[in-house]
Symmetry: C2
């Protein structure tokens, strides 16, 4: 089966990560530093450019203090 | 920040993927074929050995007919 919307989930994750990070009042750079992630890579996640792995989803969610599944929840 | 439980989310995803796939009554091999994923790779996902990417989470969830966030929901 081909995906009908390739990369849709990336953009959902990107939007959610940015929203939760901003809600914590942190810059991209400060948050990336806090979770020990390269800031260029992290910026790519927030732009939906990175095919982020489950280990990094976990790392980001832990840094945000939220359950990882919340990062995949899209507008229905 | 160091993760306190490195790889915990992998095992949650592994358990969920297996459960939903079995609920559809499909073998690993048949399901992997259906979603056009290498069956050895797919088996590794179900064993929690693969640091699966968000694009592949999306592909698996689409094949299962479920919302991707359900694959990350763990027992609370």
């Amino acid at each position: 089966m081909k995906r009908t919307h390739p990369g849709l989930l990336r953009s959902i994750v990107a939007t959610n990560v940015r929203r939760y990070r901003q809600a914590r009042g942190l810059s991209q750079q400060d948050f990336a530093h806090e979770i020990e992630m390269d800031r260029t890579y992290y910026g790519g996640v927030e732009r939906g450019e990175r095919n982020v792995s489950i280990d990094n989803i976990e790392r980001i969610a832990t840094g945000l203090g939220i359950s990882p599944h919340l990062l995949l929840l899209g507008p229905e």
